[in-house]
């Protein structure tokens, strides 16, 4: 029996590799660690400037075992979840109201767009002064960060409902609640979830900005502690946790999208 040529085997290998997402992720992670370790060896910087992957790994295990990581991780997670709930609720309600009322949109949109040019890092200290250094200010900062992308996508999603479909609903004498349930929500959902994806990732930044300004818990606080004690490995652990948290939230929204938009056959094919 004739063996396939080596070039074909190679092509097969790369094709299989490119299809295996988990393996690719693992390989990219190993490559990242290798580059990091090489940088540590080549630059020969002290650990408080650039810690090695092993130092960061040790610190991760230490604070995981002592319960320190979970205490701060759960605090940030709580702020983010509350921020998402309030931010998404407010943005969706206001987005719906603006989509229904062009007058309200014309009145409020300059303020809404203008508010986005204010850097959150500049306004966060003021929110801490007004609402105190506790949970409320952190949740508020987080909500404000989430608010805008969700609002805009809600508005765009509702505005983009094809007029002919609205005409169909009218001809069927559908009530406004029925139109919302059977036409507007399903039609706006893809765009809305796009905004939610952005908002979920940004919510992590919102919570951290609040914690960096004033807090006594959370991953942002842990970064401050690490900086204060010249424990850069601790800073790295906190930052990596934040990245994983943001990626997880993004992934959750993707899962949600796949679930609630399963009726879109083209998505499945894609």
């Amino acid at each position: 029996m004739k063996e396939p040529p080596s070039s074909t085997l190679k092509n097969d290998f790369w094709q299989r590799l490119s299809r295996n997402r988990v393996l690719l992720l693992l390989l990219s992670f190993i490559l990242f660690l290798l580059i990091w370790q090489v940088l540590v060896l080549v630059l020969n910087l002290p650990g408080f400037i650039l810690p090695s992957p092993a130092e960061v790994g040790r610190k991760f295990l230490d604070i995981l075992a002592s319960g320190l990581l979970w205490r701060h991780f759960s605090a940030t997670l709580g702020e983010i979840l509350l921020g998402l709930v309030f931010g998404i609720s407010a943005a969706t309600l206001l987005g719906y109201a603006l989509a229904k009322s062009p007058l309200a949109e014309r009145l409020l949109s300059p303020f809404l767009v203008g508010s986005q040019s204010i850097p959150m890092a500049a306004i966060a200290p003021l929110l801490v002064i007004w609402f105190g250094p506790g949970l409320i200010s952190k949740v508020l900062i987080c909500s404000l960060t989430v608010f805008f992308p969700v609002l805009i996508n809600t508005l765009v999603g509702l505005r983009d409902v094809p007029p002919e479909l609205r005409e169909v609903m009218r001809s069927l004498r559908a009530t406004s609640v029925q139109t919302l349930r059977f036409l507007e929500i399903p039609a706006a959902l893809p765009v809305f979830l796009g905004g939610l994806r952005v908002g979920a990732s940004l919510s992590v930044i919102g919570a951290i900005v609040g914690e960096l300004v004033a807090s006594d818990r959370g991953l942002g606080f842990l970064i401050n502690v690490g900086r204060g004690q010249y424990d850069t490995a601790l800073v790295f652990v906190a930052v990596i946790c934040l990245v994983l948290l943001a990626a997880s939230l993004y992934g959750l929204v993707l899962l949600l999208e796949n679930k609630v938009l399963s009726w879109q056959t083209w998505r499945k094919e894609a």
Binding site: L45, P46, F48, I49, I63, L68, H72, P125, V128, I129, G132, P133, V213, A214, S215, D216, F221, L222, N224, V225, G226, R227, G228, Q229, Y230, D231, L234
Partner: protein
């Protein structure tokens, strides 16, 4: 049966009503803002809580941390009553109309200095001429301390280059991005020496006497809750003495409040010992305090950070330390 339960209840209520009221000691809850983040430098306040010193004065303290300038606004507006703030922040706030007032100086010396590697040969303030100096930013105690030192030495802005580097003084110095850095005496020099770097340290306090950190409240609390202010000042005084007398005990107590603090971290223990050196364990006479406040005000006016002069004597009260 129902009647029996009813009468039993009545009897219980009657007995409760007849019971002489036990005199519960009144406890006042206050928030104390320490600025920055939990750190072994704040050991006296952790000791005061854990060893019952605040409780002895009928005070239950909850600690908070954050940006000094933001927190001064909270105290000035009476949203919170106490904080640790630097003297210049008190003067700047009062000049803006915020009624904050120092009731107990914590530091006897201004806690800022200029650190450089031995190889840079900066052994006197005059050697700073032509050098690049790194500091967190053009604000706060580091900036004011450096400018005061430079002006006292006869240097002008043209004689050196200030570079804002955030709170990365140690990193910027050892990687030689700058020639010298403005540091907090109790922290960065300890970190540098512990990592084997030989440094020269120019202390602002060696050149001029400026007011450092103090316990700050607002005029409303001062006038309406003088008993509470007295309690806070007395507790702080006792806690400073207890910490200075037994730093090891204070360090171990701090571990409950400072995350990531190992049981036996020689660097952090040294930070505590260096901190104790600059504490004012026994308050100075009023005339010495006035001089420090006046010197600070002169620096702020010269820098243009204060546009109007205030009565330095109004920035602090020594009524609680007598």
């Amino acid at each position: 049966m129902k009647r029996l339960i009813f009468f039993s209840l009545i009897l219980c209520l009657a007995l409760t009503a007849c019971k002489p009221a036990s005199p519960e000691p009144a406890v006042t809850k206050v928030a104390l803002n320490l600025t920055y983040i939990p750190n072994v430098q704040f050991a006296p306040f952790y000791v005061a809580i854990e060893k019952g010193i605040f409780a002895k004065y009928g005070i239950e303290v909850s600690l908070a941390y954050g940006n000094e300038a933001d927190l001064v606004a909270l105290v000035g507006s009476d949203n919170q009553q106490f904080m640790i703030a630097s003297g210049e922040q008190v003067l700047l706030s009062r000049a803006q109309g915020l009624p904050v007032i120092s009731v107990r100086e914590w530091y006897k010396d201004y806690p800022v200095g200029v650190a450089s590697l031995k190889t840079s040969q900066i052994s006197s303030p005059a050697d700073l001429r032509g050098k690049v100096i790194g500091l967190p930013g053009l604000y706060g105690a580091n900036y004011i301390g450096f400018e005061a030192l430079a002006a006292h030495t006869g240097l002008t802005d043209a004689d050196y280059e200030l570079r804002s580097i955030g709170f990365t003084q140690v990193e910027a110095l050892v990687t030689e991005q700058v020639d010298a850095v403005v540091v907090y005496l109790a922290n960065e020099p300890v970190q540098l020496r512990a990592r084997g770097y030989e440094i020269d340290l120019l202390k602002v306090a060696d050149s001029l006497s400026l007011v450092g950190n103090c316990l700050v409240t607002n005029e409303k609390s001062l006038n309406e809750r003088s008993d509470l202010v007295q309690g806070m000042v007395s507790a702080m005084h006792e806690a400073l003495a207890a910490t200075a007398a037994d730093p090891e005990m204070a360090y171990q107590v701090s571990r409950k409040y400072v995350d990531n603090l190992a049981e036996d971290d020689p660097i952090q223990k040294q930070v505590l010992l260096e901190s104790i050196k600059i504490w004012l364990l026994e308050p100075d006479p009023a005339e010495v305090e006035v001089k420090r406040w006046e010197n600070m005000q002169t620096v702020l006016l010269d820098l243009g950070l204060m546009t109007r002069q205030i009565e330095a004597r109004e920035a602090f009260s020594d009524a609680f330390t007598k």
